[in-house]
């Protein structure tokens, strides 16, 4: 098979994108890694807690350290990493439209495109949510852990999934107070070990509770909370007020599918994985065969699963470009898939495993 000389273009240098690029380069395939930020690593640099998983998933290592390691690895391999480069368009013929440093727009023709564009944070609207001081959890994480700035002194966290609980812990670590973590559902969402460490720091966690209003003139001064009924509607008479100067919203993530949609990838609605996401097969190929989707764009999970998905796609793309024979591709992906399976178990993981199986089946049905 003749080897493809046009590069594989990886969009997004988070854990999934870095791993995809590393596998491509390792196989000798030409690869370009583009990221809109001035630092690669994606969300890893906001993750300062030790990761779960096993040793082969880098368990016990802090997210930003994994980011540094992946970066070092990609630099050692000589991967062409273009930072400050926003990919703003993509067409079905794999023409990538990029803007460098917000100053120079150019197009390039890729032979494969691996989309590792991550996810966008969801919002929950309430009167006053446009006030200064209301922000997404990711915004607070970026400010605290990347830029070392405290976005509030006394903070309410809305949402008790892992992101909400982790941001509460990070706020405490940065010296803020957390007035409460609230959750509209009857049960807290995040890992019990995460909630327990935040709770023992004295942070109240309130289930069946919602925010009905934020008040203040030039910024948040108070949050008004209320209990909710079985239909998530506030129960009259249960209102209470918390004095806070910031509110962090951690109410889930939605795959960032814009580029995939522009490329013509078919999407599928999977609530467990964050909503509309591109269909993909076991090698992370979308319905457009030369376009792969990895990490949160392919269903919101965790950095550890994102890395394995990136590897799967990188290995398969290298094979499809003529840089790895089938046997070697299968050998390398078998390991990856075993590790991925290990991560998708237990009360939290199994649901995602089942949902992913549905995605694969749908892909098989829609584009055999």
């Amino acid at each position: 098979m003749e080897r493809e000389t046009r590069p594989a273009v990886v969009v997004g240098a988070g854990p999934a994108g870095l791993c995809a690029a590393i596998e491509l380069k390792r196989a000798g395939a030409p690869v370009l890694l583009l990221d809109e930020n001035s630092k690669p690593g994606g969300q890893l640099f906001k993750q300062i807690h030790k990761f779960f998983g096993s040793q082969e998933h880098r368990a016990g290592v802090r997210g930003f350290e994994i980011g540094k390691d992946l970066l070092r690895e990609s630099l050692d391999l000589g991967i062409d990493v273009r930072l400050d480069t926003e990919v703003v368009g993509l067409d079905p013929n794999l023409n990538v439209w990029a803007v460098e440093a917000r100053k120079r727009s150019y197009t390039l023709e890729a032979s494969r495109v691996i989309l590792a564009t991550g996810a966008t944070e969801n919002a929950v609207p309430f009167p006053g949510w446009t006030l200064p001081g209301v922000m997404t959890a990711g915004c607070a994480q970026t400010l605290i852990n990347v830029h070392r700035v405290l976005p509030g002194r006394r903070v309410l966290v809305v949402g008790s999934g892992n992101v909400g609980v982790i941001v509460a812990y990070q706020l405490l670590q940065a010296g803020a107070e957390v007035a409460a973590v609230i959750e509209a559902a009857p049960a807290l969402g995040g890992y019990g070990v995460h909630t327990a460490k935040v709770r023992r720091a004295g942070v109240p966690m309130l289930v069946r509770t919602t925010i009905v209003r934020a008040e203040g003139s030039e910024g948040v001064e108070r949050a008004v909370l209320a209990e909710v009924d079985g239909k998530f509607k506030p129960v009259p008479g249960t209102e209470r007020t918390l004095e806070v100067d910031a509110i962090c919203l951690a109410v889930g993530l939605t795959p960032s599918i814009e580029l995939a949609a522009l490329a013509g990838c078919r999407t599928f609605f999977v609530p467990e994985l964050g909503g509309h996401m591109p269909l993909h097969d076991e090698f992370m190929r979308s319905s457009v065969p030369a376009v792969y989707v990895v990490g949160d764009i392919a269903g919101v999970e965790e950095a550890s699963t994102a890395m394995e998905e990136g590897r799967l796609a990188g290995i398969h793309a290298a094979h499809s470009m003529g840089y790895l024979d089938r046997e070697e591709m299968e050998r390398r992906t078998a390991d990856t898939r075993r590790r991925l399976r290990a991560l998708r178990q237990g009360v939290f993981g199994e649901k995602r495993f089942v949902a992913k199986e549905r995605v694969l089946a749908e892909k098989e049905k829609e584009c055999p």
Binding site: R102, A123, P125, A261
Partner: protein
């Protein structure tokens, strides 16, 4: 600001009431709501409000969230300065194939 005003589209300051009114007036898709109310027409192009509008639409029409048709997307997916548009191809990767 009215303290009970619930904005859905932060960019264009479109309220929940305006969106529900549009749906009750006959708008049945995210696209139509967008055109009638400007929700999602602002500088972020619906990146924050799109899902919220889909949810309200599902609620008003009695649909499951997945049954609301997903919105369409247009490039660019980030704001781009006019000055940056020299339109050239990237010389370093312009392969012969293709």
């Amino acid at each position: 600001m009215d303290r009970d005003e619930n904005y859905i589209c932060r960019c264009e300051e479109v309220t929940e009431d305006e969106i529900r009114t549009a749906i009750r007036g006959g708008a049945r898709s995210v696209k139509e709501i967008k055109r009638w109310t400007r929700s999602g027409m602002g500088i972020c192009q619906g990146r924050t409000c799109r899902r919220l509008v889909e949810r309200i639409l599902a609620e008003e029409l009695g649909l499951a969230p997945g049954e609301v048709e997903s919105s369409s997307f247009r490039p660019p997916v980030r704001p781009v300065s006019l000055d940056s548009m020299d339109g050239s191809r990237d010389p370093s990767t312009h392969g012969s194939g293709g």
